[in-house]
Symmetry: C2
Subunit: 279 residues, 2 copies
């Protein structure tokens, strides 16, 4: 495995130096890698000739007062996990952006709701860093987890709108044995917060099961879920169309829907989601 720190070196490697016809895959991360990230690498590994993992804690996607400084960092552990997954290139730039950097990519509408409502500018930071990483790596495939479901929808929109020459691949959310969705931020939870955080997945599972059993009214489904959530504060709990992220009032057959939650435990904000289908 090759570790590259300089964006220009990566760009040289993935453009002129690579063999013609070679397929490149990218897993963009903020490091502090866990089995959720490993699943993204495992998904791409058999589909590409060269697998690149980027590790960069992107300041653009953190708002004032958010946890940029305390976001966990562990490049040594990240490198070990990447090696295990057969990664070819670990791209870990100290600085990603060039001097005079001035460009931002905004996806309107989709970024105003859910996490976007409480984290203004977050998804513009995500779209911008991903556009630059897609460009630098010249990737044909890029993998993202359904854990960050809104991010996935936003990036798919960006790729289609700008006709970027790559395909976004989605991987299912990965949970710990206790049901908590894997997240680098879980490290900040106290044992008691960790126990209470299990309620997020439990609540979403109840919602999903009730929908499968025939409850179609969003109000009823969301009330049910809310009763099961044990958190210091719920940021949002929503049932939305899986493509437009518009709120749903009643489930329709063959309309993919998603239930999503964001909640605070002390200083830590967690998110989770499930697919909801009325069979």
């Amino acid at each position: 495995m090759q570790t590259i720190r300089d964006p220009a070196e990566l760009e040289a490697l993935t453009s002129s130096e690579r063999a013609p016809g070679e397929t490149i895959g990218l897993v963009p991360t903020m490091g502090s890698l866990h089995p959720g990230h490993a699943s993204l690498m495992a998904l791409l590994r058999p589909r590409v000739d060269r697998l690149v993992v980027s590790v960069y804690v992107n300041p653009l996607q953190f708002g004032p007062g958010e946890d940029l400084e305390r976001y966990p960092r562990d490049l040594r552990g990240d490198a070990a996990l990447c090696r295990e997954q057969g990664v070819d290139v670990l791209f870990a730039p100290p600085d990603l952006y060039p001097d005079g950097f001035a460009t931002s990519v905004e996806v309107h509408g989709l970024t105003d709701v859910l996490c976007g409502a409480s984290r203004p500018g977050h998804f513009t930071g995500v779209a911008t860093v991903c556009a630059r990483l897609f460009g630098l790596t010249r990737c044909h495939l890029a993998a993202f987890g359904e854990k960050d479901f809104q991010q996935l929808v936003v990036l798919r929109r960006m790729v289609e709108d700008l006709a970027l020459p790559l395909q976004i691949v989605a991987a299912p959310l990965v949970r710990d044995a206790d049901g908590v969705a894997l997240s680098s931020r879980n490290k900040h939870l106290s044992p008691n917060e960790r126990r209470r955080a299990q309620s997020l997945h439990r609540a979403l599972s109840h919602l999903r099961d009730a929908a499968a059993a025939g409850t179609v009214q969003a109000d009823a489904l969301l009330d049910l879920a809310q009763q099961h959530i044990d958190a210091d504060r719920i940021d949002y709990l929503a049932l939305v169309d899986a493509h437009s992220l518009a709120p749903i009032t009643q489930l329709q057959r063959r309309q993919p829907a998603r239930a999503l939650v964001a909640a605070h435990y002390g200083q830590t904000r967690l998110i989770d989601n499930v697919a909801v289908e009325w069979i």
Copy 2:
């Protein structure tokens, strides 16, 4: 020459169907082509395997009250000129953007000054349409004229910031025999306006010559130029750093500078510029 109307068809042609290693060049235009555009095609023709010219009057780059509706259109004439220049593909989509299109690309700072100050949103529309055209065409080279000097600076910034896999090629401004910079909008000028519009180039030439002769103070150079301009209204007359577009107070040796003007003649707004060097 092949004419393509459907963005998906163009994308298929320029990605999977093209021969590996083939080089693609793009000249993005709003049609109503003139010898200025032809010079862009001639610049790229010997450097690429496949030359694409796009003709699309992009609504995103017109503000409310601007001349979107009266912008001249002449697809038959455009096709003839492209054929003469050995163009391979004329891409003339009735609609360029997909359903649900929601993305914009903004280049901050550089777009707030000069034309950006009086045309808010214009350069965001330009950057966005160019990002999409670059994506659809998978071009390796894209040519733009120095006539739209600020546009060139903005697009170079975007390409560097997003590490887009192409190179921007600049072509010198082309003038008619009377010195007026070629522009599709010149068609709207009355004979008297046309005569008065010659003053723009004359004024810039005086400025350039005075600089070459040793006048280095921007105030003095701009005063000199202003005395020669005959227009209904001057939007701006400026002397700026050629890379940052920041105003210059005094020319420095080896600092590329540019003098730019925008002025109104009746309903028509014209722009012009020259390179300024203190030798």
